[in-house]
Amino acid sequence: MSGKRGAVPGATEADRDLVRRMLGGEERAFTEFFDGHFSRLYRFALPRLGRDADAAEEVVQAVLCKAISAMRSWRGEAALFTWLCTFCMHEIGSHYRQSGRRPEPLGLIEDGPAMIVADETRRSEVAMLVHATLDGLRDGYGDVLEWKYVLGLSVDEIALRLGVSPKAAESLLTRARQAFREAYPAGRGPGTKGHS
């Protein structure tokens, strides 16, 4: 496990290009922006709102609208998704303030290697952690890892999906695995034997 845990990933050129095209009014850019962020934000919000789907929908809609309004002020210091998450945390706080309720703990696992998923509670906690890590990866790494290891696509199929050569797809998978190892919380990383 590297020491990069907790570092805020910076914006990629793809993020900057996307924002430029959004501000230029390109319809396709809006579609890319929405498709690339809606599900990740929804998954970010849902467990933090006690799995209240109505509240998550409301919060994510508010986040996207406020981010669109503020898009001209985005300076690219953080990745676009990271920037959106800061809006999301603010909206979740507002939601609890307005409802007068207190947020429930997320209940992520606290110790032990992640691969020991002996019971359903623990399995769901690990799943949440893995999914949050995948959502936080940049450059589509989360998608290619999911395609490969969850949906079972072959390297050739991933290459076809991305319009790249099998060699390039394998290289992308290597980088994606490395990014996952770095981002997965310390002490629970793949290959670790226990809590560090």
């Binding site: 399995r123 690990v126 290891y149 190892r181």
Partner: protein
């Protein structure tokens, strides 16, 4: 997850971890659609509020005159996925049918023989059959469009997965960006998996045809996987798998049963995207200004009763535009006398 390729142990651990976690969840389609519509409307308003953009006067005049067609059919209003009374899961919604289409699974017999009607919501496990001359268009729960040709029998499962027993189906799963699940079509001669594409799967007595119109699909059969890019047809039969160029394909049955485009409130750009996807035409603009303006022109009315390839004649003149079709390319020009912005 096994380690068939001799991957390093650490990678194998990642594989087992991700496999144990399973796929990431997605929000229900209706929630996603609601948020998308709201965010897009907000985005458009923010663009209009920006000082450097304004709607040209000629477009405003064209919009005021836009009264394309005012027929909104009941099935169009039902075009989104829904839950059945009682909250059962819906895997597909029938949007449109021609001729006879009926359920053939173990549902209680009905006086109408299980005939399906537009708006019917179908749970996972439903088997349907179209009679000779019957066709149907359905919206799958993941947003994909499914069309069923005549003489077809197919079972709808979660995943989404389709089991094709006979006949032909056409699938438009969209460009594929941001999707989590990949649609599968299982047949006795192989499994077809979409990778964000438009394709037809046709099963005859001894052959399986996979014809790819746009994007990519794969066919897994006899322990091997074959890629099919746009413009190709994979033919699997007793002698193995062949890849052939898709020469002079006939997609007319797909157009005949196409679900209507819910045009009211959509931009000209969105309409042209839909038109290009349905017809396979390339869209070109005689004047670059038209391309820029297409994102701000909002359409009203309905083209629900027109085949997609016949809609340009109804829609474009209301925007001060005309078109000509040349070798698969739709060229859009300003109407004679239409003012430039």
């Amino acid at each position: 997850m096994t380690n068939p390729g001799g991957t390093p142990p650490e990678d194998d651990t990642i594989a087992r971890l991700l496999e144990a976690a399973g796929p990431r969840s997605t929000a229900p389609k209706e929630r996603e659609d609601r948020v998308r519509d709201a965010a897009r409307a907000h985005w458009r308003r923010s663009l209009e509020a920006a000082p450097r953009r304004r709607t040209p006067a000629w477009i405003a005049a064209a919009l005021a005159a836009a009264a394309v067609l005012a027929i909104v059919t009941a099935w169009e209003m039902r075009s989104r996925g829904q839950r059945q009374p009682g909250g059962d899961i819906v895997i597909a919604t029938l949007l449109r049918s021609e001729g006879s289409m009926r359920r053939i699974d173990g549902t209680p017999p009905r006086a109408d023989g299980g005939a399906l009607r537009a708006g019917d919501a179908l749970p996972p496990g439903t088997s349907v059959e179209t009679a000779p001359g019957g066709r149907a268009a359905l919206a799958l729960a993941d947003g994909s469009s499914l069309r069923i040709d005549s003489g077809t029998r197919v079972r709808l499962l979660t995943g989404p997965t389709l089991e094709l027993e006979q006949g032909a189906i056409y699938i438009d799963s969209g460009p594929g960006q941001g999707r989590r699940a990949f649609l599968e079509v299982r047949t006795r001669l192989g499994v077809v998996r979409d990778i964000g594409t438009q394709f037809e799967v046709r099963l005859t007595a001894d052959e399986l045809w996979v014809s790819v119109r746009e994007g990519l699909a794969t066919l897994a059969t006899a322990g091997r996987s074959f890629g099919a890019p746009a413009g190709t047809r994979l033919v699997a039969g007793g002698t193995g798998v062949e890849s052939r160029p898709l020469e002079d394909p006939d997609w007319s049955w797909v157009l005949d049963i196409a679900p209507a485009f819910a045009m009211d409130g959509k931009t000209l750009h969105e309409y042209l995207d839909w038109l290009a996807r349905e017809t396979g035409w390339r869209i070109e603009f005689a004047d670059p200004g038209i391309a820029r303006e297409s994102s701000t022109v909002v359409l009203h009315g309905s083209v629900a009763d027109l085949r997609p390839d016949r809609t340009p004649a109804a829609v474009l003149p209301t925007c001060g535009l005309k078109h000509r079709l040349s070798d698969g390319t739709l060229v859009i020009e300003r109407l004679d006398g239409a003012r430039r912005p």
